[in-house]
Amino acid sequence: MATFIDRRLDGKNKSTVNRQRFIRRFKGQIKKAVAEAMNGRSITDIDNGEKVNIPARDLSEPVFGHGAGGRREAIHPGNKEFTAGDRVARPQGGGGGGSGGGQASNSGEGEDEFVFELSREEFLEMFFEDLELPNLVRTQLAKATEFKSVRAGFSSAGNPANIDVVRSLKGAMARRMALAAPYTRRLREAEAELEQLLAAPPVDEKRAQELLAEIEHLRARARAVPFIDTFDLRYSNRVKQPQPTTQAVMFCVMDVSGSMDRARKDLAKRFFTLLYLFLKRNYEKIEVVFIRHHTVAKEVDEQEFFYSRETGGTVVSSALVMMADIIAERYPTSSWNIYAAQASDGDNWHHDSPACKEILVQRVLPHVRYYSYIEITPDRHQSLWEVYEELKASYPHFAMRQIDGPADIYPVFRDLFKRRTA
């Protein structure tokens, strides 16, 4: 006898909990591996999962076992040339089993590295752990302009498209039962009486006729209760709930003047990508605005932003003005969380820097949640840095850091967004 059970549909991901625990348990090692992987790979595929190497010995589960040495006799199959009493040299190293060695698997040898793959979610989780979006204030509910329609039970009025058939028919059935109840009760009595009458002759014809008439009458009355009434109709009710805004716009501002070479642009790109991924984890919807500038600013698409080359001087304020205009025009602060990241090599036309400060203070900083500036230069700072430095003191949501090379990106990013305990 046997019972067949199809389990294919249930119990998916039963091991997820154990897997999570495994990852939590080796968080230290995994994080290290993630950070290393970060430096190693191209930023464009950061959004994938990651292979993680952990030294196998770190996660071994020890048991009491025999070590090498002592005297042991092992049986092996496949003898070709040996006869009893033969002596053979002890094979060197444990690899490959060999003839001697006994049970190599018992002596605790194994792979040197334990490699496994983190899913994209897990990878990003590790990657951004302990990081926090500064000033992550969801746009105030009061200002909310977005609504979400949610179910809210049933109502007795509504439009025909929303009729809930089951509900309505349930109501109708209850009403029918209630309204017909007096008749059906009497009907049962009359029927019982009639049956009694007919069962015991002599039959009282007159009474029987009366009863038959009454039964007929009652049936008609019961039938007359309408099957469904407008009164029964029920409509699914939906109400609109104001939704806090969960959309963000990210401004990427980059200097593309002659002094920004390919390598520097690449660094900037990495930084922007990180920021983008990070925002993506916090907001449902993200728009990215790319603004590049030399002496004049231009809003471009991603491809052009990173790959086309321009030369010329540098006027940073042009980009800032453009950003302020775009914010005013397209991204009202009531419904958008605005983040800005600016990358530059620090070059600016000398007289422009005070103007930059002015624009930031007046038109940009009041609207953005966070403004980060990275300067990609191994050299000493120029006027822009100094001006920005003054801003830093008075605006907590303005941050600036310097990046020397690819290895700095991740630490600087972490530093900018690390969870503040205050």
């Binding site: 091991s15 154990n18 009491f64 006869t83 033969d86 001697g100």
Partner: protein
């Protein structure tokens, strides 16, 4: 009925009605022709992922949560994805009803093979073998695992996941030392377990405290106590000893030790009957499917596919093959089972000399007896025939660190048979495979330290690195210093390690 109308299918895709058909036919042949006594079967179709799940929780259908199962899962998944490893075609659980998992990816032939192998082969072994009968309660295991899982979850809620996990780590490390090798266990029952648990918690705590009582005794008595060892006899079941005697454990920790111990006990027979169990199941799937073919239930295509799969299962690589990894239990077990049948049916003069008791007997009864009353070690010692040793070309290698070279001590020839057989049996003896470590003494009048003794066998030392780790685990459970001594064949005792180290 004509031959062709009996044919169950020509398709390689399986369907549920087809599986039922296979199961009915196989079950009928198994029970009526070969008298296999089985638990009722519960055959479950699962996906590859679910198979990996089952795999990583060592085949327990509902395990408690622990990171090591996650690790196992990650490892299995990785190997599977890379194609380094095919999944097991089946997992079968020693329970009543006997649960067998079939993977949906299998072909119709594989499903039939697995039904024969697991649902009738393993199943009858679980029901018949004396170790399983003594040590496991097939009808209660699912309930007990459920109890364990809920209990662990409850502990995690009360004491924190990490605390519980670390504690379980230590218990797992000692899992192999959590079995009673000789004493019979009481049968498990969920309700009793639950009911007893509360009483046990309170009562035990008071007992243990009594052991550590500091009320002074009279001098004479004290001196007598001083010289007496506790425990009076060495204890082999380390987890049991810890559960009952570790001074600092909370009641819930004792319960966890107990759970791990019970589960270890449940798997103990499996570790001792690998060759027999797999050999038995392989022998039966081979025999049953061949009968199916003879009866016309399956066609030539089926048999070719089956034999291909079967031969790869029972393949035995020679020792000098790059992928050699020891003796294949399927191969050895299958060969021995077939050999017993051969000895019964067509004994040679050699067989009559070696096995006068079974030569020419009824093979079904003989095999049944062998299955019921042996474990790997004794089964090999009893039934390994010269023919099988010759077929496998077995030879014995002595590796003695006192000698520069390895010595071939015996090969598959007349003078070597007995030595080979003994040595191979010993290779499956858990007692010699695992270091013999027992509780020797608790210094309960002094620093409460626990002393274990490793009795060396053939001068084989412990694996140094893992031993240090193990002492840490023991220390976590015991709560006071733990010391490990080794005793050599001459009775000389030396200290191997202690935790925390550096104290005397």
């Amino acid at each position: 009925m004509s031959q062709s109308s009996r044919l169950i299918t020509e398709s390689s895709e399986w369907t549920f009605p087809m599986l039922e058909r296979y199961n009915t036919v196989i079950g009928q042949i198994a029970a009526e022709e070969f008298q296999l006594d089985t638990y009722p079967n519960q055959i479950e179709i699962i996906t590859a992922e679910q198979m990996m799940d089952a795999y990583s929780s060592v085949g327990m259908p509902l395990g408690y949560k622990h990171w090591s199962y996650g690790k196992q899962f990650v490892m299995t998944e990785k190997n599977y994805r890379r194609g380094q490893m095919g999944l097991a075609y089946e997992i079968v659980i020693n329970s009543d009803p006997c649960i067998a998992y079939l993977m949906e990816e299998n072909t119709a032939m594989m499903q039939a093979l697995v039904i024969a192998h697991a649902a009738y082969g393993h199943n009858s072994f679980f029901k018949g073998n004396y170790l399983f009968r003594t040590w496991t309660s097939a009808d209660a295991i699912i309930d007990y695992l459920l109890f364990a899982r809920n209990y662990v979850a409850e502990c995690e809620e009360r004491h924190g996941e990490e605390t519980v996990e670390l504690f379980l780590d230590s218990c797992h490390a000692l899992m192999n030392y959590g079995v009673d090798r000789y004493k019979h266990p009481a049968p498990l029952s969920l309700s009793e377990e639950k009911q007893r648990q509360h009483e046990r918690e309170e009562y035990l705590q008071s007992q243990i405290n009594d052991l550590w009582r500091t009320v002074p005794m009279r001098n004479v008595e004290a001196a007598a106590v001083e010289s007496r060892r506790f425990p009076a006899e060495p204890q082999e079941n380390l987890l049991y000893f810890i559960e009952k005697n570790a001074p600092l454990l909370e009641p819930w920790q004792r319960e966890l030790v107990r759970i791990v111990r019970k589960i270890a006990q449940y798997f103990y027979p499996q570790r001792q009957t690998q060759v027999m169990n797999e050999g038995w199941a392989t022998f039966w799937h081979y025999t049953l499917l061949n009968r199916l073919y003879e009866e016309g239930y399956v066609n030539d295509g089926f048999m070719i596919e089956f034999l291909q799969s079967h031969t790869s299962v029972i393949q035995q690589l020679p020792f000098d093959h790059p992928y050699y990894s020891g003796i294949n239990p399927y191969a050895l077990g299958f060969a021995m089972m077939c050999d017993i049948k051969r000895i019964c049916e067509a004994p040679t003069a050699e067989d009559r000399h070696w096995f006068p008791d079974i030569a020419g007997q009824d093979w079904i009864k003989t095999l049944d007896f062998a299955m019921r009353n042996f474990k790997d070690e004794s089964f090999i010692a009893q039934y390994l025939s010269p023919k099988v040793m010759r077929d496998f070309k077995l030879f014995a290698v002595l590796d003695d660190d006192a000698q520069d070279e390895l010595e071939i001590t015996a090969i598959h020839d007349d003078p070597g048979y007995r030595r080979l057989r003994l040595a191979l049996a010993d290779q499956y003896n858990l007692g010699s495979r695992e270091p013999n470590i027992q509780v020797w003494n608790v210094a309960y009048r002094k620093d409460r330290s626990l002393t274990l003794r490793h009795t060396r066998y053939n001068r084989r030392p412990l694996h140094a690195e893992s031993t240090q780790e193990m002492l840490k685990h023991l220390h976590r459970l015991w709560g006071f210093a733990v010391r490990l001594e080794a005793v050599d064949e001459n009775g000389k005792v030396e200290l191997v390690g202690e935790c925390p180290s550096g104290r005397h």
